[in-house]
C-alpha cells in the first residue's frame, strides 16, 4: 500500500525538505509531539531495516497554564520519558532537541501539533447565513479552528444581539467573507461595519490587535482596508465564494494558518521557542488529525469518514468524492463535555443503549460526576457500559452536526434551476450517503482504550449506522495528529507508520439498508473464507452475527439482500465483493437502517444483551452477575 506513485499525489511541504539536517534516505529517527490541552504526547519513530516504524511514546502534563506558563517544559518532560524508556539521548544539556541524530544521540526531524489553551478559536462572518457565512465556517473548520459563532446579515438576530455577542466572544481571529466577486457591496460593508463597531477583543488580551482575514467580494477591498486596518491585523485574500457555484477555501485556510503562527502561537507561553525547535510549522491538532484521515482516503481511494472522539470535543472528518470537510462539535465529548452529550441527546437516548436497569437520576449523577472529575476511568463493567452508551450518542450527534456542514453549495444554480428556486435548493440536505462511505476510522481515548476491540466496532456501528459494506478502522496508539503533520513533509513515511503501526483493522460491517418486521428475512450472506471453508447464513431482521476473519486476510462474498433491502447494488440486488478481515472480523448487521430499538424497556435491554453476547463484547455473564 505504500507505493510511491500514490504518495506523490500528496502535497508536500517543500520548505521543510530544504531545511533537512541530512538527506532523507539517511534519516534514522523522527520525533513528533502533540501539545494537547492537558497532555503533551511525544511519539518516536525509527527506521528499522529500511522501514519506518513507531517505537514508543512519552507523555507528560502540558505546561501552558499558570504556574508553569511555558509549553516547553511539558514537551521536555514527554521527551524525557522517551529517553528513559529507550536510552536514546534526545535533549542536550541545555534542554534542546539534538539534531541531527549522530553518535547515538538526537533525532533527525522534529515537528508538532498543538491544541493547548483551547486551540485556535475563531469567529466567522458572511452576508448570507447559508452561503458565504457557511463557506467561511467550512474554511475555518478546515483550518483546524473551533468556530465560536457565525455571524450573517440574515441570521435572524437583531444587530444589537450580534454586537453583544461579538463584544463578549474573545476569538483568536475573525474570518470575514461575503458577496461574490462583482456582487453585493452594501451587504458586505454592513456586516463589516457591524464588526468594526463591536470592536471585538482578542483572547490574548485587549492590548493585542485581533487578526482579521477578509475573503469576500474583491470590489470592497479598499473600503475594508479603510474600515479595518486601524483596529485589526488585516489580511486580504481571494474571495472564498468568487461565484455562487464555486467555493475556494484554500487561500483563506492558508492565511488563517499563517496568522495563527505569526500572531497567535507566537504570543502563547513557550511557543516562540517551540517554533524554533520544529522543522515544520506547528499545526492545530485537528488539522493534523484531518490530514491523517485524508491520507487514508488518498491511499485507499475511497470515501472515508473519520472521527476523533475526545474528552471535550468530537471532530468529524469526511472525504466524499474528493471533497474534504471537517466539523467540530466543541461540546460533545466523553469527559469534560459528557453532561453536554446528555443535554443535547436527552437522557432517554443515552438510557436506550444501557442493557441494565438504572434510574434516570442515578445516571445523571454518574455523568455529572464524570464531568467534574474528567480524568477518572470506568472501574466496573457497569460504568464501562454507561460510557459506551454515551459514546454512541456523542458520535451520533457529531455525525449529525457534520452533515449540516457537509452540504452542497447553497445558492449555486444548476442547469435545471432558476434563481427563484434558490430558497428551495438551499434546503437540500447533506451530500454524504452512508451507502457510499467505504471506511470509517475512529480515534480517541474511549475507542482506543476499549478493553475488547469489538466494543469500539459496535459503538461506531450503532452511532454512524454504516450501510452496505464498510471497513472500520481505529488507531492503536493516539498518533493521528502526529502522522498528519509528518505527512506534510514525508507522506510515504507517515503512511508506512500509519498502515503498519497505527491503523487497526477492526473488520468489515455488512449492513443492508431497509426495514422489516422483527424476524423477517433480510439478507443471505455467503463467504469463501481464506481456508476454503464456505460460510453461509440467512439473517432475519433484528439479528447480528460476527464471523471471524483475521486482519490482512479477505474473503470473497456474495451478499443477497431480500426485497426492500439494499447493500449497495440496489434494492433486492445481490452484491459480489471482497470483504476484508480485522481483529473483530466481519459483522453482518441485519438490525435495519435506520436502526430501531424495541420501545419496550425490557425488550430493548434483552436485544442489547443478545447483540453484545453474540459479538462477545463483554465478559460472559456481564448482564446477570455484575450488573443486577
Amino acid at each position: 500500500m505504500s507505493g510511491s506513485k500514490k504518495a506523490m499525489i500528496w502535497e508536500r511541504d517543500e520548505k521543510a525538505i530544504l531545511k533537512l539536517h541530512k538527506p532523507e534516505e539517511q534519516m534514522e529517527y523522527i520525533l513528533v509531539t502533540d501539545v494537547g490541552s492537558t497532555t503533551t504526547k511525544a511519539r518516536l519513530f525509527q527506521k528499522v531495516k529500511g522501514d519506518w516504524r513507531y517505537v514508543l511514546s512519552g507523555e507528560a502534563p502540558t505546561t501552558v497554564e499558570a504556574p508553569y506558563e511555558n509549553v516547553i517544559m511539558g514537551v521536555q518532560n514527554a521527551i524525557r520519558e522517551i529517553e528513559e524508556l529507550t536510552g536514546l539521548k534526545i535533549l542536550s544539556e541545555e534542554g534542546r532537541i539534538i539534531k541531527p541524530h549522530s553518535e547515538g544521540r538526537g533525532v533527525d526531524f522534529y515537528c508538532s501539533t498543538s491544541s493547548a489553551g483551547g486551540g485556535l478559536q475563531m469567529t466567522v462572518a458572511g452576508v448570507i447565513k447559508t452561503m458565504t457565512a457557511e463557506s467561511a465556517n467550512r474554511a475555518a473548520l478546515g483550518a483546524g479552528a473551533i468556530v465560536m459563532d457565525a455571524i450573517a446579515v440574515d441570521d435572524d438576530r437583531p444587530d444589537y444581539e450580534k454586537i453583544d455577542r461579538l463584544r463578549h466572544l474573545r476569538p483568536d481571529m475573525i474570518l470575514l467573507a461575503g458577496g461574490t466577486d462583482g456582487g453585493t457591496t452594501t451587504l458586505v460593508m454592513q456586516i463589516a461595519e457591524l464588526i468594526s463597531a463591536a470592536d471585538p477583543k482578542a483572547r490574548l488580551g485587549a492590548d493585542y490587535k485581533l487578526p482579521l482575514v477578509y475573503a469576500g467580494n474583491i470590489d470592497v477591498r479598499p473600503a475594508i482596508q479603510g474600515l479595518m486596518k486601524e483596529k485589526f491585523t488585516l489580511d486580504i485574500v481571494d474571495n472564498l465564494r468568487p461565484q455562487l457555484e464555486v467555493e475556494n477555501t484554500e487561500p483563506a485556510r492558508r492565511a488563517i494558518h499563517e496568522l495563527f503562527m505569526e500572531h497567535v502561537m507566537s504570543h502563547a507561553p513557550g511557543y516562540p521557542e517551540l517554533m524554533k525547535w520544529t522543522d515544520l510549522d506547528i499545526l492545530p491538532t485537528p488539522a493534523g488529525e484531518g490530514m491523517a484521515i485524508q491520507l487514508i482516503a488518498y491511499m485507499e481511494k475511497k470515501n472515508v469518514i473519520g472521527v476523533g472522539l475526545g474528552g471535550a470535543t468530537t471532530n468529524v472528518y469526511s472525504i466524499f468524492d474528493g471533497k474534504f470537510v471537517r466539523s467540530v462539535s466543541a461540546n460533545l465529548g466523553m469527559s469534560y463535555s459528557i453532561s453536554n452529550v446528555m443535554k443535547e441527546a436527552g437522557i432517554d437516548n443515552i438510557l436506550r443503549w444501557i442493557p441494565f436497569e438504572i434510574e434516570k437520576g442515578s445516571l445523571i449523577d454518574i455523568l455529572r460526576n464524570k464531568m467534574i472529575r474528567p480524568t477518572t476511568i470506568p472501574h466496573t463493567l457497569k460504568s464501562l457500559l454507561v460510557e459506551h452508551a454515551v459514546a454512541r450518542e456523542a458520535l451520533r450527534l457529531g455525525l449529525r452536526h457534520h452533515k449540516t456542514i457537509a452540504t452542497r453549495l447553497k445558492g449555486a444554480r444548476t442547469e435545471h434551476r432558476m434563481v427563484g428556486d434558490m430558497l428551495e435548493y438551499s434546503l437540500l440536505e447533506t451530500y454524504i450517503e452512508m451507502m457510499k462511505i467505504s471506511i470509517i476510522a475512529g480515534t480517541g481515548g474511549l475507542l482506543s482504550h476499549a478493553p475488547r476491540r469489538g466494543q469500539a466496532l459496535l459503538v461506531l456501528t450503532d452511532a454512524f449506522q454504516p450501510e452496505g459494506v464498510t471497513k472500520l478502522y481505529q488507531d492503536s496508539v493516539f498518533m493521528m495528529p502526529h502522522l498528519g503533520v509528518l505527512s506534510k513533509a514525508f507522506p510515504e513515511i507517515a503512511w508506512n507508520i500509519f498502515d503498519k503501526d497505527c491503523l487497526i483493522r477492526l473488520g468489515t460491517v455488512i449492513a443492508p439498508a431497509g426495514a422489516a418486521n422483527m424476524g423477517e428475512p433480510v439478507v443471505d450472506v455467503k463467504m469463501e473464507m481464506p481456508d476454503g471453508v464456505i460460510f453461509q447464513k440467512e439473517l432475519n431482521f433484528g439479528e447480528i452475527v460476527g464471523v471471524p476473519l483475521a486482519e490482512w486476510t479477505s474473503a470473497r462474498a456474495t451478499i443477497s439482500p431480500k426485497r426492500g433491502f439494499d447493500v449497495g447494488a440496489g434494492r433486492g440486488k445481490s452484491l459480489e465483493t471482497v470483504v476484508e478481515g480485522g481483529v473483530v472480523g466481519v459483522v453482518v448487521d441485519a438490525r435495519g437502517r435506520p436502526l430501531v430499538l424495541p420501545e419496550n424497556d425490557e425488550e430493548r435491554r434483552k436485544s442489547l444483551r443478545k447483540w453484545f453476547d453474540v459479538l462477545q463484547l463483554y465478559p460472559e455473564g456481564f448482564a446477570e452477575d455484575d450488573l443486577k
Binding site: A60, E65, E193, S196, A206, Y336, T380
Partner: protein, 387 residues
Amino acid sequence: MKDMANTKEKDDLAEEAYAYTPGLKVKRNMIVSKSRSLPIPGEVLCEKGAKVSFDTIVARTNILGIPNIIKAADILNVEGDVLPAFLVKKVGDPVKEGDIIAKYAPFFGLIKRFVRSPVEGVIETISDITGFIVVREPPTPIEVKAYISGTVSEVLPGRGITVETQAALIQGIFGIGGETHGILLTVVGSADEILSEEKILPEHKGKIVVGGSLVTLGAFRKAMDLGVAGIIVGAIRGLDLTECLGYELGVAITGDEAIKTTLIVTEGFGRIGMSARTFNLLKDLEGYEASINGTTQIRAGVIRPEIIIAHQKGALRSEDEKLTGGMRPGTPVRIIHEPYFGRIGVVESLPANLQEIQTESPVRVLTVKLEEGIVIVPRANVEIIEE
C-alpha cells in the same frame, strides 16, 4: 508561607508537573494571595501595604460603550452614498436620545423624514456605502472589589492589585454563582446529614451556610428566597441542579449564573458526605467571615470553586507548610469514582505493574486502606487530599 505554586522556581515546577496531579486543597492556615485585576487598563485605587476589606473598591475603569447601528439611509429612503447631504450632525458630535441626526424633506417639505438617535452617546461613524450611522453609548464604568480582607502585597499599575491574607483555603469540586461573602454558620450536626428545607431559617440571610451530605431542592430554593449568601455542602442531585438553574448545564463552566445564593459542593453529585477534614475545618471556623466563589471551569486552566476564611487562629503550623510530594504509602486519598465513590483512605501500596480490573482494562492501580479493609482502585480514580 505563600501558595507553593507561586513561589517555586519554574524548573522545579516542571518536575512537579511530571510527577503528579494534585487534588483539591483543604488548608487550615496559609497565606492566600488573590490577584484582582481589570479586564482592560484603568485606575488602581490602592497602594502597596494598604489594608482592604472584601468590599473595598480597589480598581476601576470604563468599558467602551455599546454601539447602536442606525440604518439611516433606509429610514430616509435614500441611497447610502447620498446620506451625507442630509446630515445635521457629524462624526464626533454628542447626541441625546431623540436628537435629530439626519433629515430629508422632499416635495417642498410635504414629506419629512428624520433619523433620530435612539440613545445618548457620540456619533462614531457615518457610512456612505451602507448608509449606517453608529452612535456609541457612554462608557460603562466597572469596578473591582478586594473580595478578601487583607493587605495589598503588589500593585500592577493600571491593572490591579494582589491582596494577601492569612486564611484557611478550601477548594470545592463544583459550584454555581459568583463571588460573595458572609459569616460562616454550620447548620447540621454531622458531615453525613442532609441539609433540608427546615434547616434554612430567616436569620441565615447574608450568611454562608454549611450543610452535610446533600442540599435538597427545597432547601436551596428557600435559601435563595431568604437571601442566604452561600451554601457549602457535600453534594447536590443532578436533577435538582437543573431545577435550581432553570436549565440543564452542559459544560462545567460556571460563575455567571443569575442566582442569589452561591453554591459550592465539595464532593460531587448524588448524596455524598462532606469529607470529615473539610467539615471539621468549616465547623472550627464558624463565626468567621468567609469569601466564597462558585466559579468553576473544568477544562484547560482548571478553576475550582473556593472558600477563603481569613483568620488569625494560631500560628502557622509546620505540617501546613509541607508540600504534597506525590502519592506514596500513607498518603491520604479520596476515591472519586464508583464503586467506592467518596470514600477516604490512605494509600497502602502502589504496584508497579498494570493490573486488570473488572472492565478487563489493564491499568495502573493502587491499594487503598479503607475502614472496612483494603481495596484495589485505578490510580486515575483517586485524588490526593492536600494537607
